[in-house]
Subunit: 451 residues, 2 copies
């Protein structure tokens, strides 16, 4: 009897080989797209000094963090990629060129209560642009292009990037004499989708102690809808009353101005005054991204502008803008919604060579030839019945099987069978390479996400 | 004053952007090569139940492991990729197709004493082939091909794969009536390179209590040298005296027989009877790989055949063969030895667009065009002096700078400057794409490792 029942911790994603191949494709698309926009990859440790990670301190983080000691060291697993970035930039500021554009795709850890679709170990896929002292608004305008490209390259079509500016919100509340209550108001307004405008109004008056007139003003403001041009025009009606508001409006106009130049169609972008993002370090543009057919999932890519990345580690003012994709959760959702393209090859090889002779020399040579041509090839090595060998190819979903018996060896050829069409051809290795490469071009043309 | 001095834990590699780009290239080459041989990627959690990871138990592992609790759970960071593989295969045996070929490249954790070039967090890059009940020797013959391809694709030339078979060693010791002492003898013989044959002989007689005749026999045996054919011929002289030895010799002959067919030249492969590998779970072929100009570094890729991967988790007999590259340490060594190709582009982009106008529309459009053509492009957004902008491109080592002023915009062109040659041309965007792509083909042609 084995001593221990093998198990994987709850909340830790561990995929079978087929889905793992899809996950690899998913993460590679993120990597490639981020790189295309001039972000450089970083890889920081998963373990850091607890003092570093908890510099900011505070509620949920402290409760959820995996913290432990080794010898004298008080250590913890990172719970996001932002704090390690802040540490990195503060440490290496002298060696980096600013604006510093980095992406990082890595696992982070949060000991949340385990439940379906919630992960304790999950990939975040972040990009950030960090300025030294200041950072031009153009960077905030470019972010929607990265989001649009990323999801489009993945194959997602029905999504929308929603953008707002915290300066507009804070400026507007200040106009109403509500600067102090802005946090509470934002949290209440955030419930709009769930509870509707009447209940929001009730909470604003009863809990937040606003006057009826103030509550009405707020409801009127967040009810502003329309095309980007219409929303911006409506916002102009509030101009010249508060400096912060005016600055935010200028920024929002700059962000929308460059959309087309950056290749983002109007259909996939909306100014939305109800977007606030909870985190208090956002100071300007904020982003959310919704799957239009699955609003219940919430934002699949969020972020925003902040003014001070690394205040706990350096006196240097490091403003930035960044976004994050919760990649493990998004992948899980796509799986659940059956939105992953099953037609893509998830087999470990394009070709499985099945030797029909005792001696494997010719089969090994054929494998070597195909591999040198860049074709992922497996040599089946076991002495099994023909049916078992074919069952192996089937189970793995390998697109091509190459038979190599006495006849083929005598002719210096292989019999290549297309497992999907059933078609079998006697081919030279050069011909086989061309055929498989042609098939791959078609097969790999598909995108990972359907819809 | 900032509250905390930013720092990274000792023994945890954290690279600057340039070296990180090299590291990415390094790991990507491993991934691509492993995939070419029909291995499927896996990604298992970094955190596992301590009970799972420590099932085998024992000395160094227990001392070095990062172990901690969260709530009631007794957890630990994985210290290798083999134990998580054993767990995975035992858990999912019913869903996998055997032979199961997987690669995994991931970080592992060992709380070793910190010293230069020793890492507590490091990448291992493993491949394994797992059989269900049995596994053909051909798999052991294919492994040197994977090793050869991997290092050759990286650019390493002066290396040698050294192979032995534990059955030959154990069979030989059994012939001498020394089956019981084989472990101690192997550990003594392992010191041959360091202390020389005379001292090994002394230890065998004094510490291991061998007779003079037995010690002489062992020294004679491990002194066998020559081409693979010569070594195999010398081994034939010991045949027909011990079954295990004969089986090992058959296996070694099978492994060497297929070398050429698998594309491994004789120059990069040697049967070496002094190779034993310390770990007691190896039962057949064992591999080491030496950098010929840096033998002091030790083996850069090792592994072997084992008969029972997952005995602690399942009754199923799961024999396998695998190898592992300690990727973080190897990368560190290559850096130290100045063996990394500095000519390869480590910049975050191929092209930096420098707008010379206030309005960025044309510059953003140019960036969008280049990116759509697959060229990594950064738009410089800050309002700085020309010299500062050029200094930025220089510091990052970006190969091309594209100037976009009133003149260029009027003509629908860009001025593209090759930062290496200094040559500057007024080009359409289509022409610029072709020129940059052509340059990339030459630039990316180089391999990561020199020599």
């Amino acid at each position: 009897m084995p001593a221990i029942t093998p198990r994987t911790l709850s909340g830790f994603m561990e995929l079978l080989p087929g889905p793992q191949q899809q996950m690899e494709r998913f993460l590679n698309t993120l990597r490639e797209t981020y790189a295309l926009y001039g972000f450089t990859p970083l890889d920081t440790p998963l373990v850091e000094s607890a003092e570093i990670l908890l510099a900011k301190g505070g509620g949920e983080t402290e409760k959820q963090i995996y913290r432990f000691s080794k010898g004298d060291a008080d250590l913890a697993l990172r719970f996001d990629l932002t704090v390690p970035l802040a540490k990195y930039v503060a440490m290496h500021a002298g060696e980096l060129a600013f604006p510093f554009r980095r992406f990082q795709i890595g696992k982070v850890y949060r000991g949340e209560r385990a439940q379906r679709g919630r992960f304790r170990e999950f990939y975040q896929a972040d990009i950030d642009v960090i300025g030294d002292g200041k950072l031009d608004i153009a960077n905030e305008a470019e972010i929607p292009a990265v989001i649009y490209s990323t999801f489009t390259r993945l194959g997602l079509e029905r999504f929308q990037i929603r953008v707002n500016n915290r300066k507009i919100l804070n400026g507007f509340y200040a106009m109403q004499g509500l600067a102090e209550q802005s946090g509470e108001i934002m949290r209440t307004v955030d419930k709009l989708d769930k509870i509707g405008p009447e209940k929001v109004r009730g909470l604003l008056v009863e809990d937040a102690q606003l006057t009826e007139a103030q509550a009405d003003e707020i409801l009127k403001f967040i009810a502003i809808r329309g095309t980007n041009a219409q929303v911006l025009e409506a916002l102009e009606g509030y101009a010249d009353r508060n400096e912060l508001f005016d600055l935010g409006l200028e920024e929002l106009k700059a962000v929308t101005k460059y959309l087309a130049a950056f290749g983002v169609p109007e259909t996939h972008f909306a100014v939305d005054l109800t977007i606030a993002r909870g985190l208090d370090y956002y100071t300007g543009t904020v982003y959310e991204t919704l799957m239009l057919d699955h609003p219940e999932i919430g934002s699949i890519c969020s972020g925003g502008r902040y003014d001070n990345l690394a205040e706990y580690y350096t006196d240097r003012q490091l403003p930035g803008v960044g976004i994050s994709i919760g990649a493990t959760r998004l992948f899980y959702v796509l799986q659940e919604q059956k939105m992953l393209n099953e037609a893509l090859n998830t087999a470990p090889a394009e070709v499985l060579i099945l030797p029909m002779t005792q001696d494997l020399t010719a089969a090994a040579e054929a494998a070597t030839f195909l591999r040198a041509a860049g074709i992922r090839t497996q040599l089946y090595t076991e002495q099994k019945k023909f049916k078992a060998k074919m069952g192996y190819a089937d189970k793995l979903g390998i697109p091509f099987v190459a038979f190599l018996g006495e006849d083929e060896i005598a002719q210096g050829k292989i019999s290549l069978k297309n497992m999907q069409s059933g078609e079998q051809q006697l081919l030279s290795l050069e011909e086989a390479v061309r055929l498989v490469q042609e098939d791959l071009r078609v097969r790999d043309n598909g995108k990972l996400i359907l819809g």
